[in-house]
Structures are given as C-alpha cells and as structure tokens.
C-alpha cells in the first residue's frame, strides 16, 4: 500500500472515530459524563507512548 493510500485510510479512520465519539457523548447524562471522564483519565495515565515498540 502506498503512503498516500495509508494516509487517506488513516484520515478516514480519524473522521469516523471522531463521529462515533460525538455520538457516544451525546447520549450521556451529566453523571455518566463525569464517570466517563474519570475512567478516561485513569486510562490515559496507563497509556505511555514509551511503551510503543520502536520500529
């Protein structure tokens, strides 16, 4: 696959992901949103870019 094709696919993926995130958040109550934010914070702390293997 060429770099252009990979980038096009990646951009599409990002757009779809953004759209799904918006849909997900739209249906939440204030309490659900707070809980979601707390869970997300905890998850982010565990996601260290240093863990991504060097290629």
């Amino acid at each position: 696959m060429s770099t252009t094709a990979i980038i096009s696919a990646e951009v599409l993926k990002v757009l779809i992901m953004l759209a799904f995130q918006e849909l997900k958040r739209k249906g939440m109550t204030a309490e659900e949103f707070d809980e979601y934010a707390r869970t997300l914070r905890a998850e982010i702390d565990d996601l260290d870019p240093a863990d991504i293997p060097a290629v």
Binding site: M1, S2, T3, A5, I6, I7, S8, E10, V11, L12, K13, V14, L15, I16, M17, L18, A19, F20, Q21, E22, L23, R25, K26, F33, Y36, A37, L40, R41, E43, I44, D45, L47, D48, P49, A50, D51, I52, P53, V55
Partner: protein, 203 residues
Amino acid sequence: MEITIGQFTLPVLLTVVLGLIYSIIAIPNRFKPIIAVLCGMGLAMLGMVYAETVITAKIVIEYLLAGLMGGAAAVGLYEIQAKALKRKKMPSMIIVALLIPTFLLAGCATFGVKPWGERTAIEKSVFFMDFYKSQYNDTMAMATNPEITEPQKKIVREKKKLLFNMKLLVRSYDDYAKGGLTVPDGLEQKILDLINRLATMGG
C-alpha cells in the same frame, strides 16, 4: 481553529442530491455549477429560518456565503466523483464512496452537538483524552503488526513523537479543567495543532 467536521455535510448531501437530479434530468454542463450553488444557497436559507430566531442582514449574508461555499464544494466533489467513474479508477471511486457516508455520519453525529467554542473546558478535555486514547491504540496496533510496511513504520515513528507531547499537554489541560481553573492562553491551540498534525500525517 475549530473542529467542525459536520460543516462538510451540506456539500456531501448536495453532491448526492445533484447526482440524482443530473441522472434524471438532462442539464447542460455549463448550468450544473450554477444549479449546485443556487441549491446550496437555498438550503442555507432554509437552515437559517429553522435555526435562527432573530434574522438580521448580517446573519442572512453569513448563511448565503456558507451556502455558496457549500454549493461550490459540492461542484468539486461531483466533478471528482464523475471523473473517477469516467476513468473507472477503482481506488478513486472507493475513496469517494467512503468519503460520502463518512461525512454524512460525521454530520449526523455533530448535529445538535455544542459548537466547539461553546463547550466547557471539561468537555473539551474529554474530547482531547478520547482523541489521545484512540491515537495511542492505533499507533500501538500499527507498531505491533508483524506485517508492518516501511511507510507505516515511518508513520509510527512520527506519531510516537507527537504522542509524547500530546499526553503532557492533554493531562495539563485536564488538570486545569477538572480543578475549575482558567486554562492558560495557547494551551488549547497547541493541542488542536497536534490533533491536526496527527490526523493529517497519517493518523
């Protein structure tokens, strides 16, 4: 810089509608762009009547300009689609076929959602964290793929560098947001710049 992917919905919808109209009614090519722009402006006017309670000259001009640009973008999309179909270039057709539902989905998802400028700091923070998480998972999946290609390796290396910066900025932003403190000037813009880079350099 605002992220409003829903703004592309009008041109995409117009492209679909115009494609249907042009396939049913034989319209000379020179009139097609004018019809598209007029349709865009007409739809923008309908949108204005639906969305605005007070209509001023400024608002009318803003909607007309948005409709004009939407119509012009639809002409561009229609031309790309027509060329791809004419040349039977499958990759182009696939990209166009994927783009249309994607933007429609994006448009539906952002319909009724607060504009970026009206969101609270915590709402923005959640958006940033969501974005970071998805980009991290994406990069990790690519990096651990045993069949990774050279172009993908290059993307992984670039994304990894950006993710280091992004994590620091996103966590910092969230600390201000959840503490109810004023977010320093420029912090949000720095994160949005990183998002733009991550989204356009291949994820």
